[in-house]
């Protein structure tokens, strides 16, 4: 049953006071996301919020429907600036499902590791920015310093820091550089150190705890009703994680825990995010060991539909030249059909529903955006709360404009 937007029981409004409507956003210094709130206030208490999204709408689906299957990958980078590799992977897995491709083992381990590196970057930004917006500059800088190191790793991996464009249909752009393992282990150790510093200054901090504990809480039944996934749902005590429930890539073979909270308030969300970062670091280390154990090997599937011929042959053989030309100008012909592939992104279930009519251009590419869906129950989290509680609640929902508005 959809809940009516009414003030909670026991909430009494002051007599003789008119409600005030406060317009917050779309560009507000205390929110890291382009969204407008029309907040109905009674004094300092929130009566209701109308959330207006769409300021970053740029026609993601329309653009995908007008290019080749490959040309959609850079658009997926721009869904979530913090975790581009996760969106790359989700899209490519959906297209591979439609093509019926199984990628080589080495590629799957690289993807798994890259996804976790990406998740770390997202959680670090969420926790760091939440501190910044509650006037704590230092923990934000710790978080951003760690994210910077992670982005350096991404740069080493694929040449770009933010918009990675790393994952390809049937593989990844190229294998890891030779000294990646050592550099990655070094980074993992440094990020652990920074997380420790972050923890020391924030987790037991009286001001931080007071602003987070008990705010933004919402029962898990209501979250499920709103199809909320990811750390928000896990903080309310539901251990739902696509990586565990429907393992994709190599998640069935790595050892990690799914942290859950109890109360579903902002403090639990914070603790769940911090623990997930430690789990991600664990997964990265396991992937590194595994990659070293299996040794060198192909990172792209050997299928003429998606594989580009070797450069040496392209320059010397007519057939390979034609194949290269077709692969660049048209890309793969995906057999007609439809497929939905869900992955666990940093915000929750990121799904891609792709439909092909058998041609070189997608018929439909739908992105199920966790940011958009997680934002919807926000009025329920805040009705009756103080205006100041909006800031940490919005921070831990971690709405990313690019993904929400597409």
């Amino acid at each position: 049953m959809a809940q009516e937007l009414l003030p909670p029981e026991g909430f009494e409004r002051d007599l003789h006071a008119e409600h005030q409507v406060l317009n917050m956003g779309p560009s507000h210094p205390a929110t890291h996301g382009t969204v407008k709130f029309l907040i109905e206030l009674d004094g300092e208490n929130i009566i209701d919020i109308d959330i207006q999204v769409g300021y970053l709408h740029r026609g993601f689906e329309k653009e995908c429907e007008s290019g080749t299957w490959y040309q959609a990958i850079p658009y997926t980078d721009r869904l979530n600036y913090n975790s581009a590799i996760l969106a790359n992977t989700g899209y490519c897995l959906a297209v591979e499902k439609l093509l019926g491709l199984e990628t080589p083992e080495r590629c799957q381990w690289i993807r798994t590791m890259a996804c976790e590196i990406s998740r770390l970057s997202d959680h670090l930004t969420r926790c760091g920015a939440a501190c910044l917006e509650m006037q704590a500059m230092t923990p934000f800088l710790y978080g951003i310093e760690a994210r910077e190191m992670i982005w350096d790793l991404q740069e080493m991996m694929c040449g770009a820091r933010v918009t990675t464009n790393f994952v390809r249909i049937g593989g990844v752009k190229h294998d890891l550089p030779a000294d990646f393992g050592a550099r990655c282990r070094d980074t993992v150790a440094k990020v652990r150190g920074l997380l420790k510093d972050f923890d020391d200054i924030v987790t037991q901090n009286r001001i931080f705890v007071d602003r987070l504990r008990g705010t933004g809480a919402i029962p898990k039944e209501l979250l499920i009703q709103y199809a909320v996934t990811g750390p928000l749902l896990r903080a309310a005590g539901v251990p739902l994680d696509v990586r565990k429930d429907e393992p994709y890539l190599k998640y069935a073979e790595v050892d990690f825990d799914v942290p859950i909270g109890e109360d579903g308030d902002n403090y639990d969300r914070y603790l769940v995010c911090v623990e997930e970062m430690h789990q991600s670091l664990r997964i990265v280390e396991q992937c590194l060991e595994k990659l070293e154990a299996i040794g060198p090997g192909p990172v792209n599937v050997d299928d003429p539909r998606v594989r580009w011929p070797a450069k040496g042959r392209v320059f010397n053989k007519m057939e390979e030249l034609i194949q290269q030309f077709k692969a660049v100008t048209e890309g793969p012909m995906v057999p007609a059909g439809e497929a939905y592939q869900a992955i666990e992104s940093a915000n929750g279930e990121l799904g891609f529903y792709v439909v092909s009519d058998g041609g070189a251009v997608p018929c439909k590419v739908r992105c199920r955006p966790p940011s958009f869906i997680n934002l919807q129950p926000m009025p329920h989290m805040l009705r009756g709360a103080l205006l100041a509680d909006l800031i940490p609640t919005f921070d831990f929902i971690n709405m990313i404009g690019g993904e929400c508005d597409r």
Binding site: M1, A2, Q3, V53, G54, H57, G59, E61, K62, E63, S66, K97, L98, G100, L222, I224, Q225, Y226, A227, V228, V238, L240, D245, E246, G337, E338, A339, Y340, A342, E349, G351, Y353, V355, C363, K364, R366, R368, F372, I373, Q376, P377, D405, R406
Partner: protein, 162 residues
């Protein structure tokens, strides 16, 4: 009709077989195309029945096939936490009248997703509590994800409104 070994599809065919028009399980995704007039009944059954128990409406979207009849398709993706299974439901929507019953009273998550489909495809959801545009602005004309909306068409909203 075949249930392709999918538990929710078997339950749906067993109890509401007359509402189902087609099933397939392409690439392992169990799918049923149902009668659009009975979408609310079908969805209520899928949510409440113990063998299906879909607590979550994960995704709701639409697709435009200009050469087909009916032209539009509304696509629902359901997920059950309890059983850990998924099901895709599809319902055809004709060009005239371009509407289907809303399921926002069954799952709250449908509210914004139906608004998005209305905004981008122009499919009306009857009995929706608040069917406004969500990603685009109120003054926008047309529905951009329809295949007959040219990608190059621009209609910027310029200047202050007040």
């Amino acid at each position: 009709m075949d249930d392709f070994g999918s538990t929710p599809l078997r339950a749906l065919l067993g109890r509401m077989g007359d509402a189902v028009r087609e099933t397939h399980a392409h690439r392992g995704d169990a799918t049923a195309t149902v009668d659009p007039h009975r979408i609310v009944d079908v969805m209520r059954f899928l949510r409440d029945d113990d063998t299906t128990r879909f607590e979550m409406l994960t995704d709701l979207t639409a697709a435009d096939y200009p050469t087909r009849d009916p032209r539009f398709e509304v696509i629902y993706h359901l997920y059950s936490i309890h059983h850990n299974h998924r099901l895709r439901i599809k319902a055809g929507v004709p060009e005239m009248p371009c509407q289907i019953e809303s399921i926002a009273e069954l799952w709250a998550s449908a509210n914004w997703m139906e608004r998005e489909v209305w905004d981008l495809y122009g499919i009306r959801f009857r009995n929706h509590p608040d069917l406004r545009r969500i990603l685009l602005y109120e003054e926008f004309e047309g529905h951009p994800l329809r295949k007959d909306y040219a990608k190059e068409h621009r209609q910027p909203l310029l200047g202050p409104r007040n």
